[in-house]
C-alpha cells in the first residue's frame, strides 16, 4: 500500500469519523473500554478478598464505585472484568454478525432450492429454544476445556439467525435495483455483486446489529458460565450483575443501589458507545442520511 493510498484511506474513511460528533464520542468510549481491557488490569490491582463488614460501602476515593456485597471494590472488578467482556462478548457478537451476514446475503441472493434450504436452516435456528439446547451442549462439552473462540462460537450459534433473516430481506429488496442488474449485465462475478454491490450498502445496518448483539452475547456468556460451559469469572460484568440481582438482592435494599448502578452503567456505556459509532458511520457513509442533515 503506497503512502498516497494510505493518505486517501485516511481522508476517505478515518478523518470523517473524527469530524462527526457521534462517531467521535462513540470512538472515545470504545477506546476507553479497549484500553481498560488491555492495560487496565496492570494499572489497577484486583483484590477479591471478601470483607463482609465493608460490604456496600458508598463510592469514595478509596472505592470509586463503592464495594459490593462481599466488600470487594467494584471499580477493580469492572476493570478486570472488561477483558472478558471485550474479548468474549465482542468476539461472539462478531461471529454472530459474520455468520448472519454471510447466510443472510446468500439467502437473499440465491433463488430456487438453494435459497429454500438456507431458509429452512435459518428457520430451524430461529425456533430452537436456546436454553434447552445449551443444557444439552453443556452435557456434551462439560469436560472439555473450551477456549474463548470456541465459547464465542457457541454463543454466536444462537444469535446469528435473526440477523440472517433481516439481512436476507434487505438483500431481496436491494437485488432488484438497477445497479445490480447493470452488474449482472456486465457479467461481474458473483463475489463482486455480493460483497461490493450489496454488502457495502448493508454495512451500517450490520454494524448497528453488531452493537446490539453485545447485550445478547453478554447474557448468553453468563448463561454459559452458569451452565458450567465457560470458565467461571466473578469479575465478568454479567456475573457481577447476576450476583447483584439474584444472590445479593441489591434491588431490594437502598444500600445496594450503587452495586447495580455501576455495573449497569458500564454495560450501557459500552453499548451506547457502539451505537453512537454506528450512527456516525451511517451519517458519514449513507448518502440518504447525509442528505437529511
Amino acid at each position: 500500500m503506497t503512502k498516497e493510498s494510505l493518505t486517501n484511506f485516511y481522508h476517505d474513511y478515518i478523518h470523517p469519523l473524527f469530524r462527526n460528533k457521534k462517531s467521535l464520542i462513540g470512538l472515545i468510549i470504545l477506546l476507553m473500554y479497549i484500553l481498560m481491557a488491555t492495560v487496565g488490569a496492570s494499572v489497577v490491582p484486583l483484590n477479591m478478598n471478601s470483607n463482609f463488614a465493608e460490604r456496600y460501602q458508598k463510592p469514595s476515593l478509596k472505592h470509586p464505585f463503592g464495594t459490593d456485597y462481599f466488600g470487594v471494590d467494584i471499580f477493580q472488578q469492572i476493570v478486570h472484568g472488561s477483558r472478558a467482556v471485550i474479548s468474549l462478548t465482542l468476539l461472539a457478537s462478531f461471529l454472530a454478525v459474520l455468520i448472519g451476514t454471510i447466510v443472510g446475503v446468500a439467502r437473499g441472493y440465491l433463488e430456487g432450492i438453494a435459497g429454500k434450504i438456507i431458509d429452512v436452516i435459518i428457520m430451524v435456528f430461529l425456533v430452537i429454544p436456546s436454553f434447552p439446547a445449551l443444557l444439552i451442549l453443556s452435557a456434551i462439552f462439560m469436560d472439555k476445556d473450551l477456549n474463548v473462540l470456541q465459547i464465542a462460537l457457541l454463543v454466536a450459534i444462537w444469535l446469528w439467525a435473526p440477523l440472517a433473516k433481516q439481512i436476507s430481506a434487505q438483500v431481496l429488496s436491494i437485488k432488484t435495483r438497477d445497479f445490480i442488474e447493470a452488474s449482472k449485465i456486465l457479467n461481474m462475478p458473483l463475489r463482486y455483486i455480493l460483497f461490493n454491490d450489496i454488502v457495502k450498502l448493508l454495512i451500517p445496518y450490520i454494524f448497528i446489529n453488531f452493537v446490539m448483539q453485545i447485550k445478547g452475547a453478554m447474557e448468553f456468556s453468563v448463561g454459559l458460565m452458569f451452565l458450567g460451559l465457560a470458565k467461571f469469572d466473578p469479575t465478568h460484568w454479567g456475573i457481577m450483575l447476576n450476583y447483584a440481582l439474584y444472590q445479593a438482592g441489591a434491588l431490594y435494599t437502598t444500600q445496594g443501589f450503587h452495586y447495580l448502578f455501576f455495573v449497569i452503567l458500564n454495560i450501557v456505556l459500552l453499548i451506547y458507545g457502539g451505537i453512537l459509532l454506528s450512527q456516525g458511520i451511517e451519517e458519514i457513509f449513507n448518502p440518504r442520511v447525509r442528505g437529511n442533515e
Partner: protein, 624 residues
C-alpha cells in the same frame, strides 16, 4: 405531517386504553363462578368453599407443584407444597424437646422388631371414608413397589381396622416409620384399590430381591425378570393415574385437600372430617407459586404471603423489616451442614495432610457471612456432629482428643511442608512435583452454595493452590456428583433429616449419600485412641446398638466423632439454618414465640408447623 402526528397520538392513546382495560378486566373475572382445571364450577368440588369457609381465615404461603396437577403422590413432582397438609404421618416429632405428637397413631408399642401402631379412630378422608389399617398396608405396599423403599419394613399386617403391626429389620427405622409423611396415608385403599394386588405382589418380590442382595445371595434371573416386568407395568399404570382429574377431587386424610390448581396458585380447603376441624380457625390455604426467591421477598413485603422461608441477604432482611413492620423472623437449624466434599477417586485428596491443611486455610466464618449470614458457625472442629447438637453429643473427654482446625495459614504451611509439599513462587506443589490444582464444583441453582464456593476458591487461591470454580447446571447435580465427575464440591455434608441423631449423619457420611459421591474409604481401618477402627463397621454397630445398648452406642458415637474430625471425609463450612419469615398480625395472628420448640419441627417439612398451629387453633385470622 400534522395528520401523522395526530394519528400517532391517537394510536398511543388507544394502546394505553387497551392496556388499562386489559388490566382492569382481569379482576371482575375472579369474582364470577370459576372454572377449575377440570372445567367444572368450583362449587361442585368436594370441600368447595362453603359459606362458613368463606368467612373463615386464609393462610397464604409460597410453594411449588407440578402442573398440570395430577394429584398423584407417586407421579412426577408429587403434589408439591401441599404434601404435609394432605398426608399425615403417625406422629410429628419435635427435635428440640424430643416429644412425639400423635397424628394418625393414637399410640404405639415396640416389642423387639415388632411395632404395633394403634390408629386413631376419628380419622377420615376428605370424602368421608374412614381411615383404617387397610389404607396403611396399601400405602406401604405402594411405596415399596414404586419407590423401592423402605425395605426396612419386612412385613406389615392389619391386625384389625385400627391396629397395624410392622415387622422391622432394624429398630433404628422406628423413628422414620413413625414420622415419615409417606408411610401411612398416601394410597387410600378406596382410591388405589384397582392397583392394590399388583402393588402387593411387586412389593413382596422387591423385598425378597433386596434381602437376597443384602445377604450376598445371587438373585435368580427369572425372579429379576418377573420383578422388572411387573414393576414396570405397575409404574406405568400408576404414573398415568391422575386422581385429581379422574375423580375430580383428591381424597386425603390430612387437614387440607387441594381443590383448585392453576399454574400460579394452588388452593386447599379444610378437610371437614379431619379430627382437628372443629378447632380450626383457618379453613383455606393458598399457595402462591415460588417462582423465585425475589418473588417471595416481594410477596413478604407486600403481605401477599403470610409466611415463607427464602434465603435472604442480610441487607434485604433489614430493608424488608423496615418496609413491613409486621414481618418477623425465626431461625431454626435445618439439621444439615454445608460442606466442602472431596472426590476420593482423585489421588490428590487421598492425602489426609492436604485435607487437614485445607481445614486450617479456610476461614469458615467468612464463608458463612457471604453465603448464609444466619447460619451457625462451625468454629474449629469437623467432627460430623451438627453445631446445634454439639453439646448434647460430644463429650468433653472426646473434645480434648480432637485437632482444632482454627484458620491458621502457618499451621497449614507446616503440615504441607512436613508432608513433602513445596511452595515455589505463589504456588504449592505436591511431593510428586504437580501443582496443587483442582476444580471446585457447585450446583448453580443453589445461590448460597455458589456464594460459598466463590469464597472458598478465593481463600484457597490466596494460599497458593490453583483452584477454579465450575458451576453444575440445573438438573445435572446427581449426574455429576454420583458419576464422580468432580474434584471437590460444595454439598450437603452431615444431615440429620428424618431421624435427628448422629447415626443419621454418620450413615450419610460412611454408608449413604455422601459416601456414594465421595467414595471415602470408609471400610478401611483408621488409627484412634480406641485402636484401629473402621467408620463403616462402627456405623453398622451403632445401628444395631442404638436401642439395645445405649452405653455402647454412646461410645461408638465418640469414636466416630474422632475419626471424622481427624480423617476429614468432608470439611463442614457452616450449619444450615432455615430462616422462617412470617407476617404477624397482617392477615394471621397467633404465631408462637421465637423460642417455642415447635419451630424445630421445620426441617424436612416446614408446612407441618403451619398444619399443627392451625389444627390446635393457634393460628387465627387477625382481628381487624
Amino acid at each position: 405531517m400534522l395528520l401523522k402526528k395526530w394519528v400517532a397520538l391517537l394510536m398511543v392513546v388507544l394502546f394505553m386504553v387497551s392496556v388499562f382495560a386489559g388490566c382492569g378486566g382481569g379482576q371482575p373475572k375472579q369474582e364470577g363462578p370459576q372454572q377449575t382445571e377440570q372445567g367444572k364450577p368450583e362449587e361442585d368440588k368436594p370441600g368447595g368453599a362453603s359459606q362458613d369457609n368463606k368467612q373463615a381465615g386464609e393462610l397464604r404461603l409460597a410453594a411449588d407443584w407440578p402442573y398440570p396437577f395430577h394429584g398423584n403422590p407417586f407421579g412426577a413432582g408429587g403434589i408439591g407444597g401441599a404434601w404435609w397438609f394432605a398426608y399425615e404421618p403417625f406422629a410429628y416429632y419435635i427435635p428440640k424437646t424430643g416429644e412425639y405428637i400423635p397424628r394418625l397413631a393414637e399410640s404405639w408399642d415396640v416389642d423387639g422388631n415388632k411395632v404395633t401402631v394403634h390408629l386413631r379412630k376419628d380419622a377420615k378422608f376428605s370424602d368421608g371414608e374412614p381411615f383404617t389399617s387397610k389404607d396403611v398396608v396399601n400405602t406401604v405396599n405402594f411405596i415399596q413397589a414404586i419407590w423401592q423403599w423402605p425395605y426396612e419394613i419386612e412385613a406389615v399386617e392389619a391386625a384389625d381396622d385400627y391396629t397395624v403391626v410392622f415387622t422391622l429389620r432394624s429398630t433404628s427405622f422406628l423413628h422414620t416409620l413413625l414420622t415419615d409423611g409417606g408411610i401411612a396415608s398416601l394410597a387410600p385403599a378406596h382410591v388405589y384399590g384397582d392397583f392394590s394386588e399388583a402393588a402387593k405382589e411387586v412389593a413382596e418380590l422387591g423385598r425378597q430381591i433386596y434381602y437376597k442382595q443384602v445377604e450376598g445371595q445371587e438373585i435368580p434371573e427369572d425372579m429379576k425378570s418377573e420383578y422388572d416386568e411387573k414393576a414396570n407395568k405397575l409404574r406405568e399404570q400408576i404414573n398415568a393415574f391422575a386422581p385429581f382429574n379422574k375423580l375430580g377431587k383428591l381424597p386425603v386424610v390430612g387437614a387440607f385437600a387441594p381443590v383448585k390448581v392453576t399454574q400460579s396458585e394452588m388452593a386447599l380447603e379444610a378437610n371437614k372430617y379431619h379430627w382437628t376441624y372443629s378447632q380450626m380457625k383457618i379453613h383455606r390455604v393458598i399457595f402462591k407459586k415460588w417462582s423465585s426467591n425475589e418473588f417471595v421477598w416481594a410477596s413478604l413485603i407486600s403481605g401477599e404471603v403470610d409466611a415463607a422461608h427464602p434465603s435472604m441477604p442480610k441487607d434485604v432482611v433489614d430493608q424488608l423489616s423496615t418496609l413491613n413492620p409486621n414481618l418477623k423472623i425465626v431461625t431454626v437449624s435445618d439439621l444439615s451442614d454445608i460442606a466442602l466434599v472431596f472426590n476420593f477417586r482423585r489421588p490428590l485428596f487421598k492425602d489426609v495432610n492436604l485435607r487437614k491443611a485445607i481445614a486450617h486455610i479456610l476461614e469458615k466464618d467468612k464463608v458463612r457471612d457471604v453465603s448464609v449470614w444466619q447460619a451457625n458457625s462451625y468454629g474449629e472442629y469437623a467432627h460430623g456432629i451438627l453445631k446445634s447438637m454439639e453439646e448434647q453429643w460430644v463429650e468433653q473427654d472426646t473434645l480434648q482428643k480432637l485437632t482444632k482446625y482454627t484458620a491458621d495459614v502457618a499451621a497449614a504451611e507446616k503440615i504441607l511442608l512436613d508432608a513433602g509439599y513445596k511452595k515455589q513462587g505463589n504456588t504449592w506443589y505436591q511431593p510428586n512435583g504437580q501443582p496443587v490444582a483442582f476444580t471446585l464444583s457447585v450446583y448453580g441453582p443453589h445461590n448460597d452454595w455458589v456464594l460459598a464456593a466463590r469464597e472458598v476458591v478465593q481463600q484457597l487461591n490466596n494460599f497458593g493452590f490453583k483452584v477454579e470454580m465450575q458451576i453444575i447446571p440445573e438438573g445435572m447435580r446427581d449426574q455429576v456428583m454420583r458419576g464422580g465427575d468432580y474434584d471437590a464440591a460444595i454439598e450437603f455434608g452431615s444431615a440429620w433429616w428424618g431421624f435427628p441423631h448422629p447415626l443419621t449423619g454418620y450413615q450419610r457420611l460412611y454408608n449413604g449419600d455422601v459416601s456414594k459421591i465421595t467414595e471415602f474409604p470408609a471400610k478401611e481401618k483408621y488409627s484412634t485412641p480406641w485402636g484401629e477402627l473402621s467408620p463403616y463397621d462402627l456405623t453398622l454397630e451403632l445401628q444395631e446398638n442404638l436401642r439395645n445398648d445405649e452405653a455402647r452406642a454412646k461410645e461408638i458415637i465418640q469414636q466416630l466423632i474422632y475419626i471424622t474430625n481427624e480423617y476429614l471425609p468432608v470439611i463442614p463450612l457452616y450449619e444450615k439454618v432455615l430462616p422462617i419469615y412470617y407476617n404477624d398480625g397482617h392477615r394471621i395472628e397467633g404465631w408462637p414465640a421465637v423460642e417455642d420448640a415447635v419451630w424445630s419441627l421445620a426441617p424436612g417439612g416446614i408446612e407441618r408447623i403451619y398444619n399443627l398451629l392451625i389444627g390446635t387453633g393457634k393460628l387465627a385470622p387477625a382481628a381487624k
